[in-house]
Symmetry: C2
Amino acid sequence: MNMTAQRLMDLAEAHIRDSGYGGFSFRDLAAEIGIKSASVHHHFPTKATMAAAVAKRYGERFFTSVALRPNESAEDAISTYRSAFRAALAQDGRMCLCGVLGAGAGALAPEVAEEILSFFRRCIDDLSRRIGGPGAEARAFHVMATLEGAMMLARAYRSVEVFDQAVASLTLS
Amino acid sequence: MNMTAQRLMDLAEAHIRDSGYGGFSFRDLAAEIGIKSASVHHHFPTKATMAAAVAKRYGERFFTSVALRPNESAEDAISTYRSAFRAALAQDGRMCLCGVLGAGAGALAPEVAEEILSFFRRCIDDLSRRIGGPGAEARAFHVMATLEGAMMLARAYRSVEVFDQAVASLTLS
DNA sequence: GTCTATAATTTGATAGAC
DNA sequence: GTCTATCAAATTATAGAC
């Protein structure tokens, strides 16, 4: 994976998080880095292939950023996830990539839909283990739903404070 | 607003809730009711106009369905909202229209974005009043975020049970 | 209110030269 | 790895007849 491919993925990720799968074209990306759309097809054969690759990389980065820390409590784990989403929102005012794609999932190519589902499964699995105890999975679903929904609301309101208000009660402390 | 216009809005609403703003074209809608796309423009001058009209009607229906009932508690109000979203999801397996459009808000026409924000503002305003007391607004944001996020997750998982797990803890009882 | 016809643009994708 | 050239299809939208 060379530098051009990485720059293309960076741009695609930004566009998807802003406007969804339909929010960019190969021509857009090409123009933004000064090449032609035909050259983009050299790096990614189809748009769906590219979107799936972007989603996969997004997940890898995310799970690195929320990696388990020693001796953490359930509240710590939830705080870690909350901080990760908040940072993404505050940094560039954009949604979670998987949240955007998941919302309009009806028209997604199978390979992209799979990657999105895989991301959420892994979030729930990881969070459930780190929360632990009875009802851990339900709480994990609750946390993920609230974080994704809060990002969406914050985007509609164009206000990070909306995110903070919505997610404040996720932890006890 | 005649019958053809209503059928067009029904179809547009279903498509948007399934696949977002880019999930339908005037040709699609026209073909589904057996007319031509040029005729759709007679009822709605532009696609953005139509989407805004659909979002407005969606909001009106929603607020009718969650209308305040006498002597309700805060928990009752939250249950009412939860039931409304759950019914929409269980009925046709689709997202909240405003949630889908809100997620990919970066590319929305101003008139549509306004309608979406107006929907959420009205939800928060209504819920806050019915919840009441200190922290009512924050709780309203929390409830709305969780409900929207839970719909999105349920869609990715293709499972209504995911919705139920995610929203179970919104009420105490 | 619906039609035919069409314009103007964009899109995802391919072939083949360099 | 990037280019030119091009394709086939789809999209939003308009003009004007019936």
